[in-house]
């Protein structure tokens, strides 16, 4: 593989547009005659709908349509269960509009379509819903109680799923282990909070019988397929476009959010374009959330600090529905062993319904929880045996010659949890250097003399990335020499327009600026899933590589025929195709593209140029020989990974805690990251920076607080605090590259990585800073108040 552009810090081709304010996000589409939708959402976490009166709303001038469940007819079907699993015995998914019962604050109850959003919201105020409140399951603790109220009357004990997985023989090991510690850990809810909320614009073209939807989504192709089925349209008559998407982080990979069905439904019914844009308040109560789990953990280890066995029994809060199956707790269970040689492991989880916003993956997707627990275990061993925390990790690491390493569990994709490559000690060594780890104790002691509480923490993780089933790509050279490369995945800021262009440019000998990458448009590429699970670069990137390689081979064949040379002697560079050692025998890539299409009519400057050259005439036989595989310089390829590829990393930080206020500040933060071969280091580092910032939010600021009535009491950016530039420290990033043997590029996913180890290292650093107070952090997220309480508890008693 030629690698002129692969690995280079190429500037993003998408930036000038976005920087000039010429991006096109969903709310930027204003179509002629367009109407605007708004949704009435349940004010109750759990209630029976006794009666809905919409007559006043319907009469409001400017209102075109008011819908409740009773108006939906065949549309009143629960959303599909995206990822069924045998352990998920009681799946429940949401209706587009609640019919008899509402199950969380924010569940959609009615839809209004009006001349503008202001009138639509006026009409919402005129809808009168009579509710009969039901007992609320406001937390995992309530859900798990004996005789708990039921979220769904037909789901006993609120249990959606129960799964046990065992590796080795943990029972025997626990019986004979020299040391066993039991602890309880809790992780609370947070949310992705992309800066752009969700949104849908739908346009129905009755003459063509075609539906076009612009949706702020991470998966337009599954949505296209679903909408075609719902509206009984041929798939090619439904076009779903994810235009510029202002962040997703998992919350926008869903099928369906109710609005994604109802907005096109209204557009078809009214025969006018309809727009719905989620506001931030709605986002807090109706876009999927994550993170809440409660773990009972036992761990056994020997005198040397070698981890012998882990028993982890945990409860997972799925909210009111299971739209995404049990992906998140499965990932937690499979991520927990991390970079360590854990050979005896009992994992049991129970998925419980609560009267809260449904749960689906949010960046990290079950992994920060698992890493928090395993790293707490490592710290627990170090504390018990008075060993250095980094040393305990080193003693337990899987060694570079032990790959592939089979953890022994079934991963989220149904494949093995089998690590393909890695070098964990190399990462830790780099991190220790970056943090000046060995000299920290002296620094800490010096600070303590001044009454300052400094702590250092590290967090190691292994992350399953790049799952299947597949993605595809089509690469096409047009007659002007520009290369169009399309794929079914989407982009929410990950720089695919640039990184995929780099991959293609290397194959075709062009500048990445001349490769126009198209993502997120079902008309540009028909097949695929979407961008989630840190898979786009690995899976779609590999497909891009394969398609571009095929086009390269085709260009060589076509040029070899024209020059009467051997394909092996043809080279592609600087936008030209030429005979090696005879560069005067050269055509532009565009001219080869023209020649690759055996037209009887050609036009333009390139055609005249081709005519003027002494090139070989057509070969005898068919104009398009079968081995060419079709006209033009165009090829489509698909890539389907054998199983997930496992990236890894280790982060560390030096923090200072003010025991008087509970406030924490970061003095230094370093991340060493291994995502295999790096396509564009600037992009990967940007992904890590952003992940760390979200991790810091998830560890210290962001907790969605539900009260006993199931109301989120901090549903605004005033109260749910996202970290700002003032809280996020400078982050030093370094790389280890252990190429993945699973795909042709040797890459692994990078998108979620940054967020994963932050709660773990944060807890470790706080323990260290407050060791004089005997603090042991067993919950996430903390926030200054809570940390202050923990200190008071320790001091009081």
């Amino acid at each position: 593989m030629a690698t002129r552009w692969f690995g280079a810090p190429v500037q993003r081709t998408e930036d000038p547009r976005l920087l000039r304010g010429r991006g096109s996000y969903v709310d930027d589409f204003d179509l002629p005659e367009m109407l605007h939708a708004a949704f009435l959402r349940s004010a109750y976490a759990h209630a029976r709908i006794v009666h809905i009166n919409t007559s006043a709303a319907r009469e409001l001038p400017g209102v075109h349509l008011v819908l409740t469940a009773g108006d939906l007819g065949e549309l009143l079907e629960p959303s599909p269960l995206l990822v069924p699993h045998h352990a998920l015995t009681q799946p429940r998914t949401q209706l587009p509009l609640a019919r008899d019962v509402v199950n969380y604050v924010g569940e959609a109850v009615a839809m209004v379509v009006a001349e503008n959003r202001y009138i639509a919201e006026d009409a919402l105020d005129l809808i009168d819903v009579e509710y009969e409140p039901l007992p609320v399951v406001s937390s995992l603790e309530v859900a798990a109680m004996d005789n708990a109220p039921l979220v769904h009357v037909d789901v006993p004990g609120n249990v959606a799923a129960h799964l046990v997985q065992t590796v080795g023989d943990p029972d025997t090991v626990f019986t004979n282990a020299p040391h066993v510690i039991r602890e309880h850990f809790v992780i609370d809810r947070g949310a992705a909070m992309p800066m752009e909320c969700r949104g849908v614009v739908a346009r129905w073209e009755p003459q063509e019988g075609s539906l076009t939807c612009w949706i702020s989504t991470q998966g337009p192709i599954p949505i296209r397929n679903g909408l075609a089925a719902i509206f009984k349209l041929p798939e090619h008559k439904v076009r779903v476009i994810a235009p510029d998407v202002g962040g997703g982080f998992g919350t926008k990979i869903m099928m369906f959010y109710p609005e994604e069905i109802l907005t096109p439904f209204a557009a078809i019914r009214l025969n006018r374009p309809v727009k719905w844009i989620e506001d931030r308040r709605e986002h807090f109560i109706s876009a999927n959330q994550e993170r809440s789990q409660s773990h009972d953990v036992e761990y056994a280890f020997d005198d040397q600090g070698i981890l012998l066995a882990v028993r982890d029994t945990f409860l997972h809060d799925t909210g009111a529905y299971t739209p995404y199956g049990i992906i998140v707790p499965i990932i937690t269970a499979c991520t927990l062993p991390g970079p360590y040689r854990l050979k005896n492991y009992y994992s049991e989880f129970t998925v419980l319904y609560t009267n809260k916003v449904p749960v689906s993956p949010y960046r990290g997707a079950g992994r920060p929880h698992a890493v928090f627990i395993m790293e707490r275990i490592m710290d627990g061993i170090a504390r018990e045996l008075h060993l250095d925390r980094a040393e305990v990790r080193s003693r337990n690491f899987i060694q570079p010659d032990e790959f592939p390493w089979d953890v022994g569990l079934v991963y989220q994709d149904g494949g093995p949890t089998k690590y393909d490559s890695g070098n964990y000690q190399a990462g830790l060594d780099k991190l220790k250097t970056l943090l000046d780890y060995d000299n920290f104790p002296a620094m800490q002691a010096e600070a303590r003399k001044q009454g300052r509480c400094l702590g250092i923490g590290i967090g190691c993780y292994v992350e399953g990335t790049g799952i299947g089933p597949y993605e595809g790509a089509q690469v096409r050279v047009e007659s002007d020499g520009r290369v169009f490369a399309s794929t079914g995945i989407t982009t929410q800021g990950q720089a695919h327009f640039t990184t995929f262009a780099q991959i293609v440019a290397d194959q075709l000998g062009v500048d990445p600026k001349d490769v126009l990458v198209i993502t997120g448009d079902t008309q540009a590429f028909n097949w695929g899933m979407g961008t989630y699970a840190s898979r786009a670069a690995t899976v779609a990137g590999s497909a891009m590589y394969l398609a571009a390689k095929k086009v390269r081979e085709k260009a060589k064949q076509v040029a070899a025929d024209l020059f009467e040379a051997s394909p092996e002697d043809i080279e592609l560079a600087d936008g030209k195709v030429f005979v090696r050692d005879a560069p005067h025998r050269a055509l532009t890539l565009g001219q080869v593209a023209i020649s690759a299409n055996p037209l009887r009519y050609a036009y333009g400057e390139n055609a005249r140029k081709l005519m003027s050259m002494k090139l070989a005439g057509p070969r005898p036989g068919p104009a398009l020989p079968p081995e060419r595989g079709g006209p033009g310089l165009e090829a489509s390829e698909f890539y389907s990974p054998p199983h997930a590829s496992f990236a890894s990393g280790v982060h560390g930080a030096i923090i200072e805690v003010d025991p008087k206020t509970g406030m924490v500040s970061f003095l230094k933060y370093a991340a060493v990251h291994d995502c295999g071969k790096v396509i564009n280091p600037v992009v990967v580092e940007g992904q890590v920076h952003g992940g760390v910032a979200q991790g810091i939010g998830g560890a210290f600021f962001e907790r969605l607080v539900y009260n006993e009535e199931g109301q989120i009491i901090n549903a605004s950016f005033m109260d749910y605090l996202l970290p700002t530039a003032a809280e996020v420290p400078p982050i030093i990033v370094d790389h280890v590259e252990t190429p993945s043997p699973l795909n042709p590029l040797g890459v692994k996913g990078a998108g979620e990585a940054g967020v994963i180890p932050v709660p773990a290292l944060f807890a470790s650093a706080i323990d260290d800073a407050l060791s004089a107070f005997g603090v042991r952090v067993r919950e996430m997220p903390l926030h200054p108040n809570r940390l202050f309480e923990l200190l008071q508890e320790q001091q009081g008693g």
Binding site: Q11, R12, E14, D15, P16, L18, L19, R20, G21, R22, G23, S24, Y25, D27, D28, D30, P61, Y118, A192, M193, P194, M195, E196, C197, D244, V245, G246, G247, F249, D279, R280, R281, Q492, G493, Q494, A495, V682, V683, E685, G686, V688, H689, G690, G691, V692, A693, Q694, S716, F717, M718, L722, T724, A725, A726, E727, V728, P730, I731, G754
Partner: protein, 176 residues
């Protein structure tokens, strides 16, 4: 339609005249229309984004008579007679980006791009008032704009680079 007299006060309309990015606009707008909605959906200047509608995230930041403000926190009628600069007015139709925009591109100071226009307007106002900010000052000034993608690091780097270039340009102009 209801009679004009029966309409509640919030349905009233009012004439306004504003200058946006150097162009004069006269429009009749509902009195309750937010300035952000006016810019985006009346003038079709969709570069100004709306991220929270409660004045915290900073995506909708524009310059009003030169000051960085939240366009989601005021009504269009309140801008009557004022001059507004939006992201579209930074480089206009010039082929070159504004130095702040250029620095954001070179330093990878944006990912999804949704918060970027608001941040650039904030930075524009920041550097006018303080052409040589320290990193701490930059981070403090940026703390009214939330970015969920970048972790801010490359934004801070971009601001430093832009400040440096704009200072150099300023001293060159003064020498001329």
């Amino acid at each position: 339609m209801q009679e004009q007299e029966e309409a509640p006060a919030f349905l009233e309309e009012s004439d306004i005249a504003v200058i946006v990015n150097g162009h004069s606009y006269e429009r009749r707008v509902p009195v309750r229309q937010l300035l952000s909605d006016f810019l985006r959906h009346e003038l079709h200047l969709t570069g100004t984004h709306v991220g929270c509608e409660h004045g915290v995230c900073g995506c909708c930041t524009v310059l009003l008579n030169g000051e960085a403000i939240r366009s989601c926190l005021m009504f269009a009628v309140q801008a009557d007679g004022m001059a507004i600069t939006t992201i579209e007015g930074m480089a206009g139709n010039n082929s070159d980006l504004h130095p702040i925009q250029q620095a954001f591109m070179e330093k990878h100071g944006l990912q999804c791009g949704f918060c970027t226009p608001g941040i650039i307007m904030t930075v524009h106002s920041m550097l006018r008032d303080n052409p040589n900010p320290t990193e701490e000052e930059i981070r403090h000034e940026l703390s009214g704009n939330i970015c969920r993608c970048t972790g801010y690091q490359n934004i801070v780097e971009a601001v430093k680079l832009a400040a440096e270039r704009m200072r150099a340009f300023q001293s060159e102009s003064e020498m001329d």
